[in-house]
Amino acid sequence: MQKTPLFDEHKGLGAKIVDFKGWALPLQFAGILKEHLQTRAEASLFDCSHMGEYRIRGQKAIESYGKQIISDVSKIPLGRGRYGAILNEQGGIIDDLITFRMAGDELYVVTNAGPLDSVTARICADNAGAEHVSYETGKIDVQGPRSRELVLEAGFEEAQTLKFFNATWTTWEGHAVLLSRTGFTGELGYELFMENDLTPKLWDVFLEMDAIEAAGLGARDTLRTEVGYALSGQDFDETVTPLEAGMASFIAWDTDFVGKEALEKRRDTDGHPVQVGIITRSKRKPQQDFEVKHHGTAVGIVTSGTYGPSVEHGVGLARVPRALSEPGTQFTAGPKDLEIEVAEIPFYKKGTCRIKI
């Protein structure tokens, strides 16, 4: 397994370590429930150094990159990020990603660990201005309603004015750090990208603060499911198009990108399924790969499911026919016919991520 620059820190904190896409990462520290509730109440610190990062520099490189993703790169304003995806020729999702415009002639792209090699092949092939920087980049996420004051306390003044889905280059102890106001929890939060060696130093600075605790992949998963965020490799993969993964509104149909033709065909032939949020009316949880049945007939599949510690019932995502995607639609799922129903996303409605400053 590959180790992140924070591996020794996790060991020191007594984390339960698991293999996630070939990386040794903490599943939990104090326990998933505690870490989840801590994130919603104050703030948590996540090691996301396993994720993928790319720097795209120069107009030609940006144009070439733009043909690889479903977003219209030319329309991303300076300092803003845009959610998107990179597709195969069949329109299937190789990975989802965020593209930040850091300067007129510079982008910063954040992707996931699982499909890293395929993504690198696509982003960096025949593009001299595209640089893959994942292996020299550490990443810390500070997430929770108190994250702004903590990031300020650590010395990042830019947090004072940084808006949701914006990013800026800054420095910390003389080293370059990219600070973005993004995350995967539904809470006010920041992601900090920096060189590997700097990562443990900044991690320790945050951990010494009172209002923040380390959190692992387990809490990251319950937090993101409770707000209905899809996870690459789980809720979608190369066999699923953006139309079926809740990404339809992120497709820039008036630009050219790999997979567009297949996607148009998919769009124009009726009957592709869609992603919906699902809940239970009890503490029972839907589980990944549960077959979804409507009046006894198999119609879909649960792609994510967990108990939602903040909403106190089961939550998840499923792929079902469009005709059965209205909130309130009832299904049964799994071998014991668990009762589930379609519900609006986010399930947890008090998230602070969009809070105005």
Binding site: Q28, G31, I32, K283, R284, K285, Q287, Y307, P309, K336
Partner: protein, 128 residues
């Protein structure tokens, strides 16, 4: 490490046998593997379960597994406190976190299970 007075199954359940009734729960090892328990489904009282029959389920934020009746018997009591406080399974697996009680248990069935030392050895092998 595991209470001496209990018997243990390969499915990581414990059995406390007294006067023809048996109390069933899951071991500390099982709760560590599951993580924070969020839901426990228990059998109805009065139901007769055969040895090995499915008796319920236990769910945590990251896992789910079925509960089996390690011995045959009639369900005389279930731990209703787990409805509101599933965390008792983690906090107190051998006392407050018990699952259900069976009566009319054949004492001979109990002799086939592991004692604490054998179970500790079994767990060690499992985790390697």
């Amino acid at each position: 490490m595991y209470p001496e007075e209990l018997k243990y199954t390969q499915e990581h359940e414990w059995i406390r046998g007294e006067d023809g009734t048996c109390t069933i729960g899951i071991t500390a090892y099982a709760t560590e593997q599951l993580g924070d328990v969020t839901y426990v489904e228990l059998p109805e009282t009065g139901v007769k379960l055969a040895k090995g029959a499915e008796a319920g389920a236990v769910e945590s934020v990251k896992a789910a597994s079925d509960i089996y009746a390690p011995v045959g018997g009639e369900v005389v009591e279930v731990n209703t406190a787990l409805d509101d406080q599933p965390e008792l399974v983690n906090e107190s697996p051998y006392a407050d976190g018990w699952f259900f009680k069976l009566k009319d248990v054949d004492p001979a069935e109990l002799s086939s299970f592991m004692d604490a030392a054998a179970y500790a050895h079994y767990v060690e092998e499992q985790s390697q």
